[in-house]
Amino acid sequence: MSSDTLVDFDEVLTRYEPVIGLETHVELGTASKMFCGCSTTFGAEPNTQTCPVCLGLPGSLPVANAAAIEATIRIGLALGCRIATWCRFARKNYFYPDIPKGFQTSQYDEPLCTAGHLDVEVDGETYRVEIERVHLEEDTGKNLHVGGATGRIHGADHSLVDYNRAGIPLVEIVTRPIPGTGAKAPEVAKAYVTELREILLALGVSEVRMEQGNLRSDVNTSLSPIGSLEWGIRTETKNVNSLRSVERSVRYEMRRQAAVLDAGERILQETRHFHEDTGSTSPGRSKEEATDYRYFPEPDLVPIAPDEEWVEKLAAALPELPAARRARLSEEWGISPTEMAWLVNAGAVGLVSETVAAGAPPADARKWWLGELARRANDAGVDLAALAVTPQQVAELVGLVAAGTINDQLARQVLDGVLAGEGDPAAVVESRGLAVMGESDELVAAVDAAIEGNPDVAEKVRGGKVQAVGALVGAVMKTTRGKADAATVKRMLEERLLA
């Protein structure tokens, strides 16, 4: 075992250059599975969405899902790929309890899409990520490990398998190795997955809910000494399923690998697992036990030959892609590229756009998503999109503030309620009694009480020290527990003291 210590990130870069690469799996949002008619609904009771085909029972025959093929071609087109004119499925043979057939139906040397690219931006700099291939395959079942510590496979006594997920269409998007990112490697990795996710959302081919595992990335990282002509040995961190974790896993691997190399040891080519809680990786299955998948063409499926006319039609019908949309929105919202980059980094472009579409002014939508909501997502350690609040609810919140029903401070309390699942903002205002007080008897009483309770301050104000009124406003806000409107309170105080 090599040194457990990690090298400081900045120090890593004084000696080594990283090369990263990503293999991203996307569960398509089709209604039925890849090769059979079983439903793909998430969260169904275990083993209620299976049939002879996806269970691999003898005599069953697969038939490819037309919508999944179309979705894969559209992803390829959006990434600027070449679309194959003829390709086949292949069997990837291995035994594991989550693949009922003893092989995964995948694609091998004839992927549907090849040779594309995706440009991502980090801190104003554009990095071109070359896409090696996009191919179509099927997802595996889900293992539940019993008898070990906290459901981990290590130390488990036995495992339980749910095959509902087995056979759901899965698209694998593989980048070529990405050199030359230096200190930005972790951010480029995150930016790539973020941009890919935006494209998939724009295409409407997947729900891309990372927390449900719709999108998961295997993140390859290697280091080589600066100036070296050869790339180092890489590790592959499997199934990283949040944008934040993609960045953290690269950062951690760079620091860990630097420590190993500094100690004069070799990096093991292996798969590793990322741990959300500690932000670290640990070794998984070693690749030294050479994988031998004995791929061969799937005899039960005929080749796929997308005809040119169809592909052209799909290309013409592609929606506006995120990069073009961002350029347009920057102009519509009147914001700079840097401000747009903040939104992109926060994963907030779509959220803000939907909030605006739901009626909020762009500036307010941005303020809430980049401010209060970003802070809460960060505190909870989740991506912005995973917060339990919808753009429509944020728009409603903005509307309530604009109408004077609540102020910003109350709005934050309303948000507490929305995030706690108490309903839409107006309902939370109602149930928690959070509306701003009008010039009610209660507020008049509070204002009068503040003047009576602070005669010295009141006298100063009367004597011309107008700014001293702030202390009285504060007193009123305190007695009304923030529910009064500060401007109204100030005006009422001034009417009484300066008239």
Binding site: S32, F95, H154, P303
Partner: protein, 105 residues
């Protein structure tokens, strides 16, 4: 697809490797037996290589068809009790399988 030309002889190691991939417990005597038998099978298949195929396009399938697809429509699945009735063991509505990872020393 990778195509390996006839090797005509399979070694004991080749057979042991294949057996391990197929999760088959093969005894030492069987390794010798199967190495001989499988080599004979390979030889038989290798006869194909003698054919002149210059003018023959590669064939994937016995039927010259492409794009056999079905519309994306969900259909009823099997009832769970029927599904699990075929499992060697079931627990909590799931297939029960033996320990996956062997403990390492």
């Amino acid at each position: 697809m990778e195509f390996r030309p006839s090797m005509t002889t399979l070694s004991r190691n080749d057979v042991a490797h294949l057996a391990r991939l197929a999760r088959l417990a093969v005894t030492d005597e069987e390794l010798d037996l199967y190495a001989g038998q499988l080599s004979a099978v390979l030889d038989a298949v290798a006869q194909v290589q003698k054919a002149s195929v210059e003018d023959v396009p590669p064939t994937t399938h016995a039927v010259p068809m492409t794009n056999v697809v079905r519309p994306d429509v969900a259909r009823p699945s099997l009832p769970r009790d029927v599904v699990l009735a075929g499992a060697p063991a079931a627990e909590d509505d799931r297939f029960r399988v033996p320990r996956i990872l062997q403990e390492e020393a």
